[in-house]
Amino acid sequence: MLRILRAFVWLRWRMLLNSLENTGARDRLERFSLAIERLGPIMAAVFLIPSMLGLAIVASAAGYSLGRGDQHSLLFEALRYLLLFIPIASIVGPLFLPAADRTNPVRLLLLPIPRRTLYAAQAATALGDVWTVIVLPIALFVPFGLALAGALDSAVVVLAGGAVFLAVVIGLSALATSVLHLIARDRRRGELLALLFILIIPAVSMLPGLLHGRHSRGAQRRGSATEEVHLPVWVAAAAERAFAVYPSELYVRSARAMPAREVQTAATRLGLLAIIAVAVHAAGMFVFGRILDSPGATGARRSVTARKAWGMTIPGLTPGASAVALAQLRLALRTPRGRSILLSPLVMMAVFAVVVLRRSGGFDLGPVSLNGGLGFASFTSFICLVATLPIVVNQFAVDKAGMTLALLSPLSDEEYLTGKEVGNALIAFPPALISLVAAIGIFRSGSPALWAAVPLALIATYLLISAPAAMLSALFPRLVDLNSIGRSSNAHGLAGLLGMLAFVVAGGSNLIIVLAATKWLERPGLVPILLLGWCAIAFFISRVLFAVARRIFASRRENLALLLSDK
């Protein structure tokens, strides 16, 4: 067993080193691109070490306080809140990890290893996860602090509690990974899950903030203190009971009980934690067994309706450019990440609209306060443009092998880039226009001139960012999987950052024009005229930038062609 676990540890370590050593870069720019890609994980690792040291010191101090009889030490309370997030992170975290970061069970099945050992090896990979690494200094150094304070027996029990809590976290992570694998091996089910997570998590996570913002603002308007929200008694009681058996709480309460000589309470909590650990690992083994029983991908073949429109040529484009544009649109329509780009701004808009309609007025979004339909429309339609970032700043590599087909085709660079530019516009504009129309329908107030300015501002923004996005896509291509929801579907980090800056600068220029007309000249009627002029200038700028993008693309064409073979 130990020999096999050691082999798996070596395997993970070797894979990590190989990923850092063998860059396979073809030129200086690609070396830079790869270095930037790896900077994130390296920086995270660099920051993690001092963080872990700091956490160890805090845990030691918290343990020492507990040992000296301070049951409600502020430091231990801080650790308690931190630990609250660990079980959740261990369940949700595997969803956002690239599949390659986990050991492939199909490959494992070929090895002459018993199933239990395979499960142990699979579960042990969770030891490298951030949420597990955070538990380690707490589990080790709270007992250390207790021992320093002279409570040796408590230290031993709390150390055991920490080990059991760690086992629960690892078990949850392994179980979540296996369940995810079981769901995602049916490709259609996996894509649906990905789409749900992309759409629902952001929407749900925004609701409390939005509602709270309105709630606080309402309270402020009335000049009263923040009102308390009362839950029904049975809900509060059930929540309290559930919270008492939450793994991190069991660990915390057992750790508090021991120094206070409440041995029975500590033992009960620890026993419950152990039962949870056993149950989680039993469930994990069961699900892992199901994967090993039939490890292959399943799922029926998907058919799509043949639409005549797909065979048509977009007016104003050559047939080749039109084909590229329609292929780009279909990519967005048929991948979870692409669909999320099309749908998530609309979901966000719906959430905002519900909040606004319920509370009649504007809403707060962090430091930004949006009031009235124009602000709402400008914000949501701009979000629709920004949401396309993962595809727009990686517009060539998202096609994967399809990119090779395009590069082998008798398309001039201009046709290919134009097709991509139009295709990206087809992805970005429909949701933006739907947002705009919905905003007009909801609010029906404000100057028509200012309403007309919103689509003009969108056009000017898109014209200004399309060529830089093509440049970034050619310079920093990244092979991505638009079927996944994690990092593996994001564009290159630097392309994403620079792309976002380009969006902000391009969008900001419109804002300056609107401010100039409304605040300084005090003539709102001028806004659409000025923006129309700005669109013309933006078009001219975009053509100049497009020529540069074409040159950059020509010089990086070979690099793009080799991206798949990774020569």
Binding site: S303, A306, T318, G320, R330, L407, S412
Partner: protein, 255 residues
């Protein structure tokens, strides 16, 4: 007698940093021939095809494809060639029908002709029932057949096929072989790489052998076999040319 050439290279070289993948090869592929381009793994076959099809620029040397310099006029050359590359070059999220529509559009083929040809090809490749299925759900063999259909749709004069028989079943392999012979009999030229020497031996009129990035032999298959001595199979000829020996596992006495 002047021999019309579909592909001609002189000193074709391609470096990847300090590594020379293709080292000054002179290819001579007569028009109307089925040219088998052979070599051991890592010999430089795929890199050569990538240079010839315009995916890579040669580090040195010159090329003429169907009488045109592909570096000076790549679009004109691409209009007249079809390629099945090693990654098969297919959009995952298009259907078979849409893939062929895409190819027809980028080649500027009118819709009626495109539909007619697509229908013929999907029938021939037995992909008709999968016409509306996304490529991502295709098996490897289906992808290979679709890639070949996409290469054939514009009715090219020259086909570049990188390992067309790898990973496909016997029935599909037979269909593809018949299709390729028919293509050549109609005046087309095929430049193919394959590790399956029996197939190359049966189909090819000419072969070229590359090893370590260098051409070690080239010419009509009959001439090469005659030069090597009577009764030699292509496998024996190939092993002799690339410097391999018939190593027996005698040293592995622990097996």
């Amino acid at each position: 007698m002047h021999l019309e050439l579909a592909v001609q290279t002189t000193g074709l070289t391609r470096d990847f940093g300090s590594f020379r993948a293709v080292d000054g090869i002179d290819l001579v592929v007569p028009a109307g021939s089925l040219y088998g381009f052979l070599g051991p793994n890592g010999a430089g076959k795929s890199t050569t095809i990538k240079c010839l099809t315009g995916l890579l620029r040669p580090t040195a040397g010159s090329m003429m494809i169907l009488g045109t310099n592909p570096i000076a006029d790549p679009v004109s050359v691409k209009r007249r060639i079809g390629v099945v590359p090693e990654d098969l070059a297919l959009f995952d999220r298009l259907t078979a029908q849409e893939t062929l529509t895409f190819v027809a559009q980028v080649h500027g083929i009118d819709r009626a002709t495109a539909q007619h040809r697509a229908s013929d090809l999907l029938n021939l490749m037995e992909l008709k029932s999968a016409g509306t299925t996304l490529v991502t759900d295709f098996s490897h063999g289906m992808r290979k057949k679709l890639s070949l259909a996409a290469a054939l749709l514009p009715a090219p004069k020259l086909l570049f096929l990188d390992e067309p028989f790898e990973g496909i079943d016997a029935v599909a392999s037979r269909q593809i072989k018949d299709l390729l012979l028919s293509f050549v009999s109609h005046g087309g030229t095929i430049f193919l790489t394959s590790h399956i020497l029996e197939i190359v031996e049966r189909l090819s009129t000419h072969i070229g052998v590359i090893a370590g990035g260098r051409m070690v032999a080239q010419g009509p298959i009959a001439d090469l076999r005659a030069g090597a001595g009577s009764g030699k199979s292509l496998e024996e000829l190939f092993i002799g040319l690339v410097g391999g020996d018939a190593r027996t596992p005698a040293a592995l006495d622990w097996i």
